[in-house]
């Protein structure tokens, strides 16, 4: 027996030979394509706006700050300020929010093996909405909105998780079905919080407009301090989710088989849920409830580039960033100078696009 265990252990693996001919998941092309789209979106996001700056002016304004030793670019201070203090923080914040919403959705779909899962399903939207509503009706400072929304969002998922995983009978391998219980608990928690939020909102109709505007979501008030506020969460979440890409692929054979392959399902689920929730809660805290990104972006990636999480996780984040930047461009241009709520754009443009992708690749079934 000893020898058999030894043989199975990693210590006695054969020395790495010449690279085997085993085909591998290739994520490089999809990542490169998504990055190119993101780069174009970012530039477009900075270039397009009511001030009507020319492209060379935009390029020069960007370069002036990036290359401070370059003296000859001579951009008017007002143009530089428009680019650097108004447009760029908004574009960067949109990209970070989009990356978190899409990456969080992809991770939730993987860990719950449910094509409809995203952090909103476990209460992020309802909790964030309630937190923000309380601050608004209490007349709190707008500075309190992000922390209140963040606490509401993360708190709702924590309650969901505790209630859902407590619903099973004990710990360990017999606790299959915990996934479904958590999703159902999320639906219940979200319904409860939404009911409370709606009640508060109706009782304080004088702030209805404000609450409603927050709930629809938007990036119009973006500043660099918002970017700095959520950047740590974005980085941590992105690193943790991408680090779990192989394990989420193992989970594609189901929780039972993944367990027999040595995966600690409870730990995997908890880690991914915490990471995805923190990232999404941070996104919600500065942008309100922008719906739909967490569902359509990951599925579009699956349907076009393949279902491996080695592709889906990084490409969803990059693609989600590009998608939200583009949606925001539309939000502030289609009815300029008025702004259309960005959530309306993500659904209005995203839904038909997604349906086209879904229909054209209907044969693919491996959606979760």
């Amino acid at each position: 027996m000893k020898s058999a265990v030894g043989k199975a252990g990693p210590a006695s693996r054969p020395a790495p030979g010449p690279r085997s001919a085993l085909p591998r998941v290739r994520s490089g092309r999809a990542i490169a394509a998504a990055t190119a789209v993101l780069a174009v979106s970012l530039f477009a996001g900075v270039a397009i706006g009511p001030a009507g700056l020319s492209l060379p002016t935009v390029a020069r304004a960007l370069l002036t700050e990036l290359l401070p030793w370059h003296p000859a670019l001579g951009v008017p201070a007002i143009d530089a300020a428009i680019i650097w203090q108004i447009r760029l923080p908004r574009v960067v914040l949109g990209a970070l929010v989009g990356a978190m919403l899409a990456g969080g959705g992809a991770a939730y779909q993987g860990v719950f093996r449910n094509p409809l899962a995203d952090p909103y399903l476990l209460g992020v939207a309802a909790g964030g909405g309630l937190g923000a509503t309380i601050v608004i009706i209490a007349g709190g400072s707008p500075d309190l909105l992000p922390p209140a929304a963040f606490l509401g969002a993360a708190g709702a998922v924590a309650v969901t998780y505790v209630l859902g995983s407590g619903a099973r009978t004990g710990r360990g391998p017999s606790a299959m079905g915990a996934t479904a219980a958590i999703v159902l608990a999320g639906v219940a928690v979200a319904a409860l919080l939404t009911a409370v939020q709606t009640y508060l909102q109706q009782q304080h109709y004088q702030t209805l407009q404000q609450v409603y505007t927050w709930i629809l979501g938007g990036l119009s008030l973006a500043t660099w301090s918002d970017v700095l506020l959520i950047l740590p969460y974005v980085i941590v979440t992105a690193v943790i989710l991408v680090a779990h890409r192989r394990l989420l692929d193992v989970l594609r054979v189901g929780e039972t088989e993944a367990s027999t392959l040595g995966v600690d399902i409870a730990r995997l689920r908890l880690t991914v849920v915490i990471a995805a929730t923190l990232g999404t809660a941070a996104a919600v805290s500065v942008s309100g409830l922008i719906g739909f990104v967490g569902i359509i972006v990951p599925h579009t990636v699956r349907l076009t580039a393949g279902p491996s999480y080695r592709i889906v996780l990084p490409v969803s984040m990059i693609g989600g960033a590009a998608f939200l930047v583009l949606a925001d461009i539309a939000a502030r241009t289609v009815q300029a100078p008025a702004e259309v709520p960005i959530g309306v754009i993500t659904a209005f443009a995203g839904a038909p696009f997604f349906l086209v992708v879904l229909r054209s690749r209907r044969a693919r079934q491996d959606l979760a």
Binding site: K2, V5, G9, R13, P16, A21, R246, T260
Partner: protein, 265 residues
């Protein structure tokens, strides 16, 4: 290698297994037979620690219930009755999943892992299909891919739940022959649930006959595959014939309207 001692598994109030004791040595093939609901799958699931059990199951002297998932997966590979086969996963990626117990928590497969899987694909005759998606494979090819994934775990104990139920008789025999060759090559301990009693007798070294969660009898195929032994658990509709070269063939027998004890179970 694997020792079951008074193993009991309860699903709620009902005991799916009640005090089963059995052992299988290294390199031995233990066939688990019995009528539907006898506890065959539950016994395998207990060995893979997918259900909680009372009593003890030890593999190479280590208690299954005391091992972490990863350590257990290095000792036991489990092939369920209906493995989940993501239709859009390539054969190569699927087989590589079997290396999971040997890959650190957030690590990726190494060249050595890929080497091992390339060797297994070659052994299983799947190399030409390495890049194909599981959804495009035939039943026999899928069966070999599932086996290759299990073998990639390099675990000394292989649990097979009805490994060939989806195959025609010829491919069923071929698949079991392959398991047998691999067992001999790697001195694997094989525990397999096989519904076809003739095949069970042809391939297993020993048979464990379960009936209503209890071990009805165990022993070499010649002692278990007998009319009077099978009649209890299976009812009287079975008939064991012995071929001139001593092989036991279990066939059905019409009961002319009288239902045997197991006839309606």
């Amino acid at each position: 290698m694997i020792v079951f001692d008074q193993v009991t598994v309860r699903y709620g109030a009902a005991a799916a297994l009640a005090g089963v004791s059995e052992k299988a040595a290294a390199g031995e093939w233990l066939g688990i037979i019995g009528p539907n609901g006898a506890g065959k799958t539950t016994l395998l699931r207990a060995a893979a620690h997918l259900v909680r059990y009372e009593g003890s199951i030890e593999i190479g002297g280590q208690a299954v219930s005391g091992l972490r998932r990863r350590a257990l997966a290095q000792l036991v590979a489990y092939v369920p009755q209906l493995p989940e086969l993501p239709p859009e996963m390539s054969v190569a990626d699927y087989v590589l999943l079997g290396r999971t117990p040997h890959i650190g928590y957030l690590r990726m497969e190494t060249a050595a892992d890929r080497e091992i899987c390339a060797g297994l694909l070659d052994r299983m005759g799947l190399t030409p299909m390495a890049g194909r998606l599981l959804g495009t494979l035939s039943g026999g090819e899928l069966q070999r891919a599932v086996l290759a994934r299990a073998l990639a775990q390099q675990a000394p104990v292989l649990l097979l739940d009805e490994p060939t139920s989806a195959l025609d008789l010829g491919r069923r025999v071929a698949a079991l022959e392959l398991v047998d060759e691999l067992r001999q090559e790697r001195s694997l301990t094989v525990l397999s649930v096989v519904h076809d009693l003739t095949l069970a007798g042809q391939f297993a070294d020993r048979l464990l006959l379960l009936d209503s969660g209890r071990a009805a009898t165990a022993g070499d195929p010649a002692s278990v595959l007998r009319d009077e032994v099978l009649a209890g658990p299976f009812g009287v509709g079975l008939h064991v014939l012995t071929t001139p070269d001593g092989e036991r063939v279990v066939t059905s027998r019409r009961m002319g309207g009288q239902l045997g004890r197991g006839g309606l179970r």
